[in-house]
């Protein structure tokens, strides 16, 4: 089987840029969810 084509320098840079963007987005989602679940827990605990 032939090797897949290699990326050019510019393509590799664009790939890393998009990868970094996805990682940052994932981090923000995780921080947001942690904060939300913490807030929900506090609300539920103060109810009882």
């Amino acid at each position: 089987m032939a090797d897949p084509p290699r990326m050019t320098e510019a393509e590799a840079a664009a790939f890393r840029r998009r990868q970094k963007g996805r990682n940052i987005a994932m981090l923000l989602v995780l921080i947001g969810l942690s904060a939300l679940f913490f807030a929900i827990t506090i609300v539920k605990m103060t109810k009882f």
Binding site: P5, R6, M7, G21, L36, V43
Partner: protein
Amino acid sequence: MRMVACHDSDVRDWIALLKPRVMSLVVFSGLIGLLVAPGHLNPVLAFTAVLCIAIAAGACGAINMWYDRDIDALMRRTRGRPIPAGRIEPGAALGYGITLAVGSVIVMGLAVNHVAAGMLALSIAFYVFVYTMWLKRRTPQNIVIGGAAGAFPPVIGWAAVTGSVDLIPLVLFAIIFMWTPPHFWSLALFANDDYRRAKVPMLPVVAGGKETRRQIVIYTLLLVPLSLAPWLLGFSGPVYAVAASVLGAGFLVSVWRVATDRQDATGVSLTNDAPARAAFKFSIAYLFVLFAALAIDHCVGRIV
């Protein structure tokens, strides 16, 4: 490190999978259901409920784009979407959609209540299985029956506060249900070539432009009196009644222009469907303003 050329996605592609424009109307109508419901819900839990409705709607969008990737590639309007454009793998989009759908229902059940979670699960199942997989490619009534999926959010919002489903949220459900055909068929009139190419049996493809315009008028004639039901049932006051009447009159004028559009013998518009484009835009504003009026009326009613 050796790097190979491959298709790659941007964060915007993953957001596009959630159909954010559709999501905005869903979130808004869900929020209205939550605002007008009797009772009180902690703001954190209210935010969670709206977030779950938004995420579930996005999940439906992602699963829909996974299922419809073959026809999306054929339509001008949709061929740039992440899956047909090759930026996201179909399997990844499906996994993303299922994860968000299941996650939103679980969080709604744990944080808010089980009735709201059940309604949310029902709306997802209806959109994915009944509309996307069953009706969309089989019958010109696809968006009439499938419209029920988009009508769920106010019921879910209401259930989040009250833990039950009453007559008023069902009236709001019926309003969105009746609004959907004139809204979508206006779009279908000017996107007719796309739907024909993709062999999606939208009403203009199957029955032609003339019949579609007639059906748009019929559904709008049913919608306008129905939109007054919250006032007739004593749930809302004069602010809403006036808004619903004015908006209804505007919508009727708009669809009347669609019905009387200059057209050839086969019902094809000679004006590039300008009235249908205008009616489509008006229909979106109609629902936003109508529901906003309901919430404003409700706030006024509480203050006075």
